[in-house]
Amino acid sequence: MIQDHKHLSHDEASAFIDGELSASAALDLEQHLTTCHSCTMLIVSAMQLKAATARAYERVVAPPEALSRLAAQLRPDAAKRPARVSFGLWAWGALAASVILVASFIGWRQTRQSNNLAAELLDQHLAVLSSGAPPEVISSDRHTVKPWFQGRLPFSFNLPEVLPDGTTLNGGDLTYLHGQPAALLLFNIGKHRASVFLIQRSRNGSASVSSGSQSGFVIQYAKTQDLGITAVSDVNPSDLALLMSALVEAQSPR
């Protein structure tokens, strides 16, 4: 032990392991630790205790119905949205994991005022994530999903025979975008969720793809001859682009 360094107090040890000391105080403390066995043991044991406490105290998982009721309370306009009653735990897991959602919300508010369609898309994507309701048709089988939409939509579309690695189809739902009926397809790309909206487009203009990023979400658009395809996700853009090109590819006449 060096004379002019006193041993650290329990308060300091706690603050240190919680990352709450100022940079200079932390540096002093680290220097003291290089020479003081006793304080090093104190820190090691405090870190062990912290880790063990975090394991013992885990977040209590709320019953899905309770979360459903509470979520409904957040939106007085819920009745005007498509009814999504039951909660699936899968969506809450995804939601809890996506800290990025929280970080991006404030920026999103500005976005939604300037870009109505994007706002509507993102609202729907978030509604799916947060409601946790299973989609109307739950299937990873394109042979089940596609026929389900037949007769429900004034247009048809194709699903890719093979999806990119790590991407799975979770199901689909009917939705409305700007008052037009649309197909909503739900995918998982790794641990991320992606909502893909397919809507009929007038037969003018050529096929194209574009993309943008808003408030931490990636929004990619593609036009085929008949369809407008829009994908919303917080996944990395290149992974979303792979899915988009598979979808675009599937629409081209063979």
Partner: protein, 177 residues
């Protein structure tokens, strides 16, 4: 669908926090029905007070504070607050730290049951501060907002909680490694 921007923002901020709010309410009340009631009342209060919330400040700390105050006025909370105030217990809680040998600091922490028991015995106010720190991973200054106490008190309370746990474990496990 035209709703005021503020209620849209509120929903967007609060929705991702519902699992955390529920969990914390449960830890405080130890009862699922009560936890839901507390979160429900918290949401109602927070919605009414949302205009006073400054965008850019910490929403999670703000709403956790409302949750905590809601709990304190709940049935269980009133009962809990009848217990002696923590600061009055300082002497009792002061850990007899008579210069242990370095190795005395290390405990067998693989005994999860012992730790769970020690956590159960922890004073509710010490448990609360540990939950905010370890489970909700709030920063000390956020915890200070939630509990309405100075940051220095947060630090000493967390440290005291850990020392109390540590002493309890040492007694349960019969000494150190």
């Amino acid at each position: 669908m035209r709703v005021p921007a503020s209620s849209v923002l509120f929903e967007q901020l609060a929705l991702p926090l519902l699992p955390a709010l529920y969990s914390h309410a449960f830890w405080l009340s130890r009862n699922h029905a009560e936890a839901e009631d507390i979160v429900q009342e918290t949401i109602a209060k927070a919605l009414r007070a949302f205009s006073s919330f400054q965008t850019g400040t910490n929403f999670k700390a703000w709403i956790f504070r409302i949750l905590r105050n809601t709990f304190l006025t709940s049935r269980t909370g009133i009962a809990a607050s009848r217990t002696v105030f923590l600061e009055d217990l300082a002497d009792l809680l002061e850990v007899t730290d008579t210069n242990p040998s370095p190795e005395d600091h290390l405990l067998r922490l693989n005994n999860q049951a012992a730790l769970t028991e020690a956590l159960e015995r922890l004073h509710p106010q010490l448990r609360e501060v540990l939950l905010l720190c370890e489970v909700e991973e709030l920063k000390y200054k956020e915890i200070a907002i939630v509990l309405d106490i100075p940051v220095g008190t947060v630090m000493s309370r967390i440290s005291r909680a850990r020392r109390t746990l540590y002493e309890d474990l040492r007694q349960q496990l019969g000494g150190s490694v």
